[in-house]
């Protein structure tokens, strides 16, 4: 069987397309690379959707945390504290239990016990809390003069937020937010490892790496393959976020741009 056949059979195995049985003997390097790569589909799916949806909740939470009213501030503070203060591992555990009991009462919730939705919800809440903390920190360090200038122009409320506060906040938060994105993609490897069960041997990259390590009894091939995939993913994340960063800072002089990037900001 040539490598092309293997790719045809297994490239989409992680989403249930292609050969139903995983390879069971005579493991080739090609099989390992293909299947682990196929698993990356899930890592990207979880990471991308959680990041995109988490961005909005994070902005709202950061606003709420900065609000004067304790009715808004306290819940946001607690939400951020609980999700930032506990290991993702334990969050997955409790979420799975909660989803199971919800499902027993209301059958509507049954998709929540499968990874594609349940784990996504947990990752979404988790990344929202971390990003909210980053955004909140950035909001506090918005130069006073910027806000005063907006007031002087007669801006207030929504226009002031949309045109002054929000873009400045993003600009300041971006390096740390890049780190958060990297960590989020790494965290997706935990989904099938400790959180949710894998159905029909459809899992993420770590699941397949684990499968091969288990079958070949040699951890020194599949895990480095996994590592290479993740390094590529991390590099793409850094690349894309770098482009956005340049766009956010395009009004600044060249030297100032460089300085902002080098500021050591919060990492997760």
């Amino acid at each position: 069987m040539s490598c092309w056949d293997t790719i045809a059979d297994y490239a989409l195995r992680s989403v249930g397309v292609g050969e139903r049985l995983l390879p069971r003997s005579d493991f080739t390097l090609c099989q390992q690379v293909t299947l682990i790569g196929s698993g990356m589909i899930w890592n990207i799916y979880f990471g991308l959707l959680a990041l995109l949806s988490g961005f909005f909740l994070a902005t709202a939470l950061a606003m709420a945390k900065a609000a004067h009213s304790p009715l808004l501030r306290k819940p946001a503070e607690w939400f951020i504290f609980v999700f930032r203060g506990s290991p993702l591992f334990i969050q997955f555990f409790f979420a799975y239990f909660l989803f199971l009991s919800l499902k027993n009462v209301y059958p509507v919730f049954s998709p929540l016990t499968s990874a594609w939705l349940g784990a996504l919800v947990v990752l979404f809440l988790n990344t929202s809390a971390y990003s909210a903390e980053i955004f909140h920190g950035a909001m506090l360090s918005i130069p006073k003069g910027d806000v005063e200038a907006a007031d002087a122009y007669g801006m207030s409320g929504w226009p002031r937020f949309r045109r002054i506060i929000w873009p400045t906040m993003l600009r300041l938060a971006w390096p740390a937010y890049t780190n958060e994105a990297i960590f989020l993609f790494h965290a997706t490897a935990l989904v099938f490892f400790s959180g949710f069960p894998a159905t029909q041997q459809m899992g993420d990259a770590l699941y397949y790496a684990n499968y091969f390590a288990d079958k070949t009894f040699n951890p020194f091939v599949p895990y480095p393959i996994l590592a290479v995939y993740f390094i590529l993913l991390t590099l793409s994340v850094i690349g894309i976020f770098g482009i956005v960063n340049r766009r956010l800072n395009r009004h600044l002089p060249q030297a100032a741009r460089a300085r902002i990037r080098l500021r050591p900001m919060l990492v997760r």
Binding site: F81, T234, P264, V267
Partner: protein, 294 residues
Amino acid sequence: MFPYCSDPNAISGLTWLSCYLTTGKHTSLYLSFLTVLVLLAITAPVALVFGFGGATAARSRFAPLSWLGKGYIGIVRGVPDIAFFLFFVIALDQAFEYLRHKIKCPDWDQPIRQGNDFVVCAAAKLPLGDAPQWVHETYGFFLAVLTFSIIFGAFAANVLYGAMQAVPRAQIETAEAYGMSHGQSFRRILVPQMWVYALPGLSNLWMVLIKATPLLFLLGVEDIVYWARELGGTKTPKFTDYPHEDWRMWYFGALLVFYLVFTRVSEVVLARVMRRLTHGQATMGGEAQRKAAA
């Protein structure tokens, strides 16, 4: 533990609980909290040393050293820690044994890799085959500390690298104007000043480190999550004097509280350190402190 615990079936309520919570197995759970705390206490400074080395190397004007530093930071940061844990410890252990083997048994004529087996001479084994169990456990603990340090060292290196760059250029130029050499200005000006820039990043790293400890079991160290899972699982009367249903919820709840409290304490302490470090620095925070005092 207590004299009345000899027949657990005859007791109930709080008495039962007091016996249940003092079994040898629970003692292991309590000790594992200590293990985690000790691990964190050792890993943090060691990782900082790795980070400092990595950052200094990355800034080096000697190109290969700089590549080495940047490569270390880039590669280790790019890989999820869990993937590292799954093969790195075995690799590390084999590397140590291989080195010892080369030194201690130069006359060995058999191959080290026999099929899948990794065979070194008995004198090169780490720890020695007849060493008591606690030596094995300490060695495993040491490997875990080293692995954690290498991984978090890369993140620390990234933070410190940024911090070194963030020290205002004028400070270094002033040092040079005073006739300090490159090394002198690095030691006397750059390093003392960079901490205030590094601390926000480092404190977040500390928080991440705390939350990475549930992965310790992958490294062969029996940590709190391992014992919580083991103790919380359903116990049938045949294999224990204290049968119970699935109680993992309670055990994990206790872990959750532990982590939240630990995080909170860390936040308070780190905020205090930050106030200390800001004192007298040429930053907005330092400026604010000066104004408040005046």
